[in-house]
C-alpha cells in the first residue's frame, strides 16, 4: 500500500512544509507497509534530496509556471498516482494544494482533507484523519473513502525526518499544458519571511499608536527570525500592508510562536491565530481579552517592554551560539 507525495521546489531548493509532507508520506507508507514516492515539480539541481526526508524514489518534472494550471497539474499527479498504485496522495497545504486538492479527490474518486495535523487511523478501506475546525476552537475527525485518499498537511504539524539518503530520480516528460491558464507575472515581496509559513510571528496592533513606531517591532522580528504581522485596524488604516493582516478576513496562521503586541484580541483576530502553538501577549491593559487566549502575558508599556525583549533575545542568542 504505497503513498505518492507531490511537492514543489522554491528558488532551487525545498521549503520546510514540502519536506514535512515528504516525512508524513514516509511515515504513512510505513504504516501501510508500502513505498513512498515523491513527485517533484519545479527547477532544482537536487531532485533526489527528498530522499533524505523519507522518499524511496523521486519522479522529477522539470518545469516552471505550471502550478497555476490546476487542471493540467492535477491530471499529471492523478496519472502518476494511478501508475504507482498509490492508496494515499500527500500534499503540503499551500497555495498550490488549494488549487488541486479538490480536483484530485474528484478525479481519483476519493475523499480528501486539507490541513491534516496527524497521521491517520487506517480503518479497513477507510482512513480517519484530524484537522482543525472552527478557527482552531476544535479538531474535526473525518472518515475518508475511495481508492486513493488525498491529504494536504498543515505546516509545523509533523516532525521532519532527516536521516535518509538522496533518492533515485526518474525524469518525467512534460505534457503540453492546456494553454487555458497563463502566468503573466509573479510578484514576490522580497527580503521578508513569508507570513503564511513562518515559524515565528511578531504581530502588532493599534497600541503602537502610529506607523512610525514600527521600528521596534521589526527589530524584535529580525532578532527572532520572525515574520511581521498586524491586526485588521492597522491594515485598514494603511499603517501596514494588507498582506500582513492576520485574522478572520486576513490570513490564518499557525506558527510555533505568536507574539501579539498592543492587540486587544477581538474574536475575529483570534480566529486567525488560535492555532499557534505558543501565544505571548504584550499589552498595558490588564483587561485585554487577548490575555485569556495567551500562554504567556506581559502587562506593561510596549514601548519599554519590546526593546527590552529584543535585547534579551540578543543576549540569549549570544549565549547559545
Amino acid at each position: 500500500m504505497s503513498v505518492l507525495v507531490f511537492i514543489e521546489t522554491f528558488q532551487g531548493g525545498f521549503k520546510k512544509p514540502a519536506l514535512e509532507a515528504v516525512s508524513y508520506g514516509h511515515a504513512l507508507s510505513r504504516l501501510m507497509q508500502g513505498q513512498c514516492q515523491v513527485l517533484v515539480y519545479g527547477k532544482t539541481d537536487q531532485p533526489g534530496l527528498p530522499g533524505r526526508h523519507g522518499a524511496d524514489s523521486v519522479l522529477y518534472l522539470d518545469d516552471e509556471d505550471g502550478l497555476a494550471d490546476t487542471a493540467w497539474l492535477s491530471g499529471i499527479i492523478a496519472r502518476e498516482a494511478a501508475k504507482f498504485g498509490a492508496k494515499a496522495l500527500i500534499l503540503a497545504q499551500n497555495s498550490t494544494s488549494r488549487g488541486i486538492l479538490g480536483r484530485l479527490a474528484v478525479s481519483l474518486k476519493s475523499g480528501c482533507a486539507s490541513g491534516v495535523t496527524s497521521l491517520p487511523e487506517i480503518k479497513e478501506d477507510r482512513m480517519e484523519v484530524s484537522r482543525s475546525a472552527f478557527a482552531g476552537k476544535a479538531s474535526a475527525r473525518l472518515s475518508l473513502g475511495g481508492p486513493c485518499k488525498v491529504l494536504s498537511i498543515a505546516s509545523n504539524a509533523v516532525l521532519m525526518k532527516t536521516d535518509g539518503q538522496d533518492a533515485p530520480v526518474e525524469v518525467l516528460t512534460r505534457p503540453e499544458p492546456s494553454g487555458k491558464v497563463k502566468v503573466l507575472e509573479t510578484k514576490r515581496i522580497s527580503g521578508e519571511i513569508p507570513l503564511a509559513e513562518a515559524e515565528r510571528v511578531v504581530s502588532a496592533g493599534r497600541g503602537m499608536k502610529e506607523p512610525g513606531n514600527w521600528g521596534i517591532i521589526e527589530d524584535l522580528a529580525h532578532e527572532l527570525g520572525a515574520a511581521t504581522a498586524c491586526s485588521r485596524p492597522v491594515a485598514d488604516s494603511g499603517w501596514r500592508p494588507h498582506h500582513e493582516h492576520v485574522g478572520q478576513t486576513g490570513l490564518a496562521i499557525k506558527p510555533n510562536l505568536y507574539i501579539a503586541i498592543g492587540i486587544s484580541g477581538a474574536i475575529q483576530h483570534l480566529a486567525g491565530v488560535n492555532n499557534s502553538k505558543v501565544i505571548v501577549v504584550i499589552n498595558k491593559d490588564p483587561e485585554a481579552p487577548f490575555f485569556k487566549a495567551a500562554d504567556y502575558g506581559v502587562c506593561g508599556d510596549l514601548f519599554e517592554v519590546v526593546p527590552r525583549l529584543t535585547a534579551a533575545v540578543k543576549r540569549y542568542k549570544e549565549q547559545h551560539h
Binding site: 487542471a71 492546456s178 497563463k182 515581496i189 478572520q248 502575558g297
Partner: protein, 246 residues
C-alpha cells in the same frame, strides 16, 4: 456574462462552539447562522460589479435545507437576480460540490465564483472539486479580477506575494480579500428579494467519500502565565526551556 455564485451557510464567528452526542455532532442550538462572509463579501459582490459593468445575470446556488432560505434571500437582497436551492444536507465539501455540479452542468455559466473558504472548516476545497466535475480551469484565492473579452486577468494570493494569471473563460474562481467590498442590503433590495425567483430542486445520489467522524475540543488553556515587564530575560528563558519555541 452569465455568472454563478456558490453560497454557503456557516455559524457566526462569535458563536460558541459545542458538540453533542458524545462529541460526534456539532451542536447548532442557540447558534446564529450567517451567509459565509467570503461568499457574500467577495464572490457575490464581485459578480454584481461585473454585471453592473458589462450586463448579464447573477445566479446564486446553495445546497442546503429550507431553513437556510433567509440567507439565500439575503443574497438576493444584496443584488443577485435569482437563486437555486438544492434540497439536501451535505455533510462535506465533496457532497456540496457534487450537488452543485450536477445542478449546473448543462447551464453554461461563463464564470463561477465562490468564497476562498468557509469560516467554519476553512477547507477551501469546493471550488476545485466543482471545476474538476465541470472540466473548467480553477483559480483559488483571487484578490483581483478583470475581464478582457473571453479571458479574465486574475491576481491570486501565493505565499509571500501575488501571481497575475490570464485565464480562459468559463472558469471557476474563489475570492479572497481585495476582490470586492462588502455591501449591506438596503430596504429596496430587501423588498425586491421577496419576489425574485428562488427555485428548489432535488439532490442527486452520491457516495459518502468524506464523512464527519467526531470532534475533539482542545485541552483547556492552562491559563496565562504572567511575566514581569522588567524581566524579559525570564520570558526568553521560559520560551526556550519550557515552551521550546526558541
Amino acid at each position: 456574462m452569465k455568472i454563478l455564485v456558490c453560497i454557503s451557510v456557516t455559524p457566526d464567528t462569535t458563536s460558541r462552539v459545542s458538540f453533542k452526542n458524545d462529541n460526534r455532532e456539532y451542536n447548532p442550538d442557540g447558534v446564529q447562522f450567517i451567509l459565509n462572509p467570503y461568499d457574500e463579501w467577495y464572490a457575490l459582490v464581485k459578480a454584481l460589479e461585473i454585471r453592473e459593468k458589462s450586463g448579464g445575470s447573477v445566479t446564486v446556488i446553495h445546497a442546503g435545507p429550507v431553513q437556510h432560505e433567509p440567507m439565500i434571500r439575503k443574497a438576493l437582497a444584496i443584488g443577485a437576480d435569482e437563486a437555486i436551492r438544492i434540497d439536501v444536507r451535505p455533510d462535506s465539501s465533496h457532497a456540496a460540490a457534487l450537488q452543485i455540479a450536477a445542478a449546473v452542468k448543462d447551464q453554461a455559466f461563463d464564470l463561477i465564483l465562490t468564497g476562498k473558504e468557509t469560516i467554519d472548516y476553512q477547507g477551501a476545497e469546493l471550488g476545485a472539486m466543482l471545476a474538476e466535475w465541470l472540466a473548467l480551469p480553477f483559480v483559488p484565492f483571487a484578490s483581483k479580477l478583470d475581464l478582457e473579452g473571453s479571458r479574465a486577468i486574475i491576481e491570486r494570493d501565493i505565499e509571500g506575494g501575488v501571481q497575475v494569471l490570464e485565464v480562459q473563460l468559463p472558469a471557476v474562481v474563489s475570492g479572497a480579500k481585495g476582490l470586492a467590498e462588502q455591501r449591506i442590503p438596503n430596504m429596496k433590495g430587501i423588498m425586491a428579494a421577496k419576489s425574485k425567483p428562488l427555485s428548489v430542486r432535488d439532490g442527486v445520489p452520491g457516495e459518502d467519500l468524506i464523512l464527519p467522524a467526531g470532534f475533539t475540543l482542545p485541552p483547556p488553556k492552562q491559563g496565562v502565565r504572567m511575566v514581569a515587564p522588567e524581566d524579559m530575560d525570564q520570558l526568553v528563558r521560559i520560551l526556550h526551556e519550557e515552551a521550546r519555541v526558541l
